[in-house]
C-alpha cells in the first residue's frame, strides 16, 4: 500500500515534469498557430499580432504555464485555438473512441501472440518457425500505413467492409442490434491493422522468452515425469517465461492512447489520431499538451501495473521487495 502511494506521488511529479517539458518544447518549435494566417492574403499582419496577444502569446512562458495550470484545475486543460474552445471535452470524446479500438486490438494481439509464440518456440529452428520468422520480419519492414492502406483496398475490392470511419451515415436510425453490428463491421479493419503492426514484436518476444526456459532443468524434469506437452508449455513454460512479457504488457497498456494515431488517420477513425496529428502540425499547443499528458497517464499506469505483476508473478523478486 505504501509502495502504491509512493508510486502515485512519483506519477504526479512525472506528470508535472512532462507538462513543463512539453511546454518548453512546444515553445521552442518554430512557428505558432497563427502563422498560417499570415499566408492568407485577406488577413493583415496586424490582425495576426492582435490575435496572438489576445491568446497570451506575448506573455512569458511561466505566465502561460501558470494560466494553463489554472485551467487544468478547472477541468478545461487549456484552450484550443483551432476549435476555439476548451481542450478537455475535445479529447474526452475522441479518447473514448481510441480506447475502444486499442483495447480490443491489444487483447486480440496478445491472444494471438501467446499461442503463436509458444507454438513457434516449441518448433524452434524447424520450418514452421522459420516461416513465421520470415513473416514477422516482412511485417516489420512494411510501414504500418501501407498495411492499413492495403486493408482498405481489400475493403473496396471485396465490398465486405466499410472503408474506414466508425459508423454508417444512417447509424442513428438503426436498431440497437444493428448499431452493434455496424460498429463491429467498422472496427474489423482498424483492429486488424493494429494487430498486424504489434504482432511481430509480441510474437518474437514470446518465442524468445519461452525458448529460453524450454531447456531449463525443471522443464526437463517435467518432461521426464511424462506431463502432457500442452500442459507443459502453458502451465509450466509460459509462467516461467513471463518476466519480460510482463514488462512488454505494461508497454501495451502504456500505448493504448498513443499507439494507434497513424492508423486512425488512414482509417478515418474518430479517435485522438486525426485530432492530435492536425494539432501538432498546426501548433494547436494545448491540444498537443493535453494529448501528451493523457498518454503519459496511461504510460505510468501501464508501468505500475507491470511492476505489480512482476512482484506478483516472480517469487524471487517478491522476497526482495518485501525487504524494501
Amino acid at each position: 500500500m505504501r509502495y502504491l502511494l509512493r508510486r502515485l506521488s512519483h506519477a504526479l511529479f512525472l506528470l508535472a515534469g512532462v507538462s513543463i517539458l512539453a511546454f518548453l518544447f512546444t515553445a521552442l518549435a518554430p512557428g505558432t498557430y497563427f502563422d498560417e494566417m499570415r499566408l492568407n492574403p485577406q488577413i493583415a499582419p496586424e490582425t495576426v499580432t492582435a490575435l496572438r496577444a489576445q491568446y497570451g502569446f506575448d506573455k512569458p512562458l511561466p505566465v502561460r504555464y501558470a494560466s494553463w495550470l489554472r485551467s487544468v484545475i478547472h477541468g478545461e486543460m487549456g484552450f484550443s485555438f483551432a476549435y476555439n474552445g476548451p481542450v478537455a471535452p475535445l479529447l474526452l470524446v475522441r479518447a473514448r473512441n481510441t480506447l475502444l479500438l486499442t483495447i480490443t486490438a491489444t487483447l486480440l494481439a496478445w491472444g494471438i501472440a501467446l499461442p503463436l509464440g509458444v507454438w513457434s518456440a516449441d518448433r524452434l529452428g524447424r520450418l514452421p518457425d522459420r516461416l513465421l520468422s520470415w513473416a514477422t520480419a516482412g511485417l516489420l519492414v512494411i510501414p504500418d500505413l501501407a498495411v492499413a492502406l492495403g486493408l482498405l483496398v481489400l475493403a473496396v475490392r471485396s465490398g465486405w467492409f466499410p472503408t474506414g470511419g466508425m459508423a454508417s451515415v444512417d447509424f442513428e436510425t438503426l436498431s440497437p442490434f444493428n448499431k452493434l453490428r455496424d460498429l463491429a463491421l467498422h472496427m474489423i479493419l482498424p483492429v486488424t491493422a493494429l494487430v498486424l503492426s504489434s504482432l511481430p514484436l509480441l510474437v518474437r518476444h514470446v518465442r524468445a522468452a519461452v525458448a529460453d526456459v524450454l531447456n531449463a532443468p525443471f522443464l526437463l524434469a517435467a518432461v521426464g515425469h511424462g506431463i502432457r506437452k500442452r500442459t507443459l508449455l502453458y502451465r509450466y513454460a509460459l509462467p516461467a517465461a513471463a518476466n519480460p512479457l510482463i514488462s512488454l504488457f505494461g508497454f501495451s497498456i502504456g500505448v493504448l492512447l498513443s499507439g494507434s494515431l497513424l492508423i486512425e488517420v488512414v482509417m478515418s477513425w474518430p479517435g485522438l489520431g486525426p485530432l492530435l496529428l492536425e494539432a501538432v502540425l498546426a501548433r494547436d499547443l494545448y491540444v498537443v499538451v493535453g494529448g501528451i499528458l493523457g498518454s503519459t497517464l496511461f504510460l505510468v499506469g501501464g508501468n505500475l501495473l507491470a511492476d505489480l505483476l512482476l512482484y506478483w508473478a516472480d517469487p524471487r523478486i517478491r522476497t526482495e521487495s518485501g525487504a524494501r
Binding site: P30, G138, L140, I142, A208, N215, R316
Partner: protein, 349 residues
Amino acid sequence: MRVRRTFAKWLVVLGVLHGMVVCAGFFAPYDPVEQDRQSPYLPPMRLHLLDAHGHLHVRPFVYALRLRESSFDQFEEDTTEPHPVKFFLRGARYRLLGFLPLRMHFFGGENTRIYLLGTDAYGRDQFSRLLFGGQVSLFAGLLGAGVTLFIGWSIGAVAGYYGGWRDSLLMRVAELFLALPWLYLLFALRAFLPLAVSPLEAFFLITAVLGAVGWARPARLVRGVVLSAKERDFVRAARGFGASNGYLLRRHILPETSSVLLTQAAILIPQYVLAEMTLSFLGLGVPEPVPSWGNLLSGLQQYSVLVSYWWMYLPALAMVPFFLGYLGLASSFEERGAVYKIESRIWGM
C-alpha cells in the same frame, strides 16, 4: 557442432549481402540519382533465356518495354529485338569504397537500360537505389540499435541490479523519456541546425536521435529480467564468494538478458530503417536525391503506388533477408554463448 555450422552459414549470407551493399557502385548498373525522365514507373524487366521465336540464348537478355497502345501506364515487352545482358562493362562513374574511382559495373545493357526492379517516379533505377540506400540505412540502423541497446542495457541493468532509489529514479527518467513529445523537440532541433544537412551529417544525426530516444523500452525490459536474475541461486552464491558487482553484471546478469536484447535488436533495426522516414519528414533524414531505405519505403504509403506499381514493394522484400540474417547470426551467436550460462552448463547440453 551444428551450432558452429549455422553460425558460419549466416556469416556467409550476411557477408555476401553486405558485400553487395558496400560495393554498391560495382553491383548497381547505374548512378542511383540519375533520372530517366522518359521512363517513370517502369515495371521490372524480366530476364529471358528463350526468345519470342523459341530460340535458346546462352546469354540472358531482356526486352525493352514500351507503352501498350492507347494506354497511359500499361507496359508490354518489345519482342522484336533482344538486348543481351553484358557483364563487366563501362558505365557511370563511381567511387568504390568511397575512394577508388571506377567505371566498371557488374552488369548492364549495351543500348538499352536494364531495370531489374523497375524505376521510380523519376525514372531512377530501383535496383541501384536499393543497393546504395543500404549503405546509409543499414549502418545507421545497426549503429542506432547498438547505441540504443547499449544505453538501454546499462540503465536497465543498474536499475534492476541495485534497486531501491536508483531503480525508482532511473525508471521515472525512462518514463519521462517515453512520454516526451519528441516530434516537437525535433521541430525545434531542426530550426537550430544548419539548413542543408549532408548525407554524412544526416547519418550521424539519425543515429544519435534514434539512440537517444529509444533506450527507455529496452531498459525497462532488461530491468525486469535483471530483477529476477539477481536473486538466482548461482548469483547469490557468486556474491557470497565475494564476486564484485561489475563481475556479476558482466558474467552472470548479461547472459540472462541476452534473449531479450537480441529480440529487441531484431525489432529495432527494421524499425530504425523506417524511422528515418519520419525524420525525413522533418528534414532530418537523408536528403533527396540520395537513396536510403527509408526513402524507398516511404513511397509505399500511397494508394496509387499500392494499386498501380506493385514492383515498388520489391525493395521491401529484398530487405527482409538482411534483417533475418542479423537475427540468425545473433541467435546462433547466443547458442554459442549459451555455454556461459551457468545453469545450462551444469544441467543442460
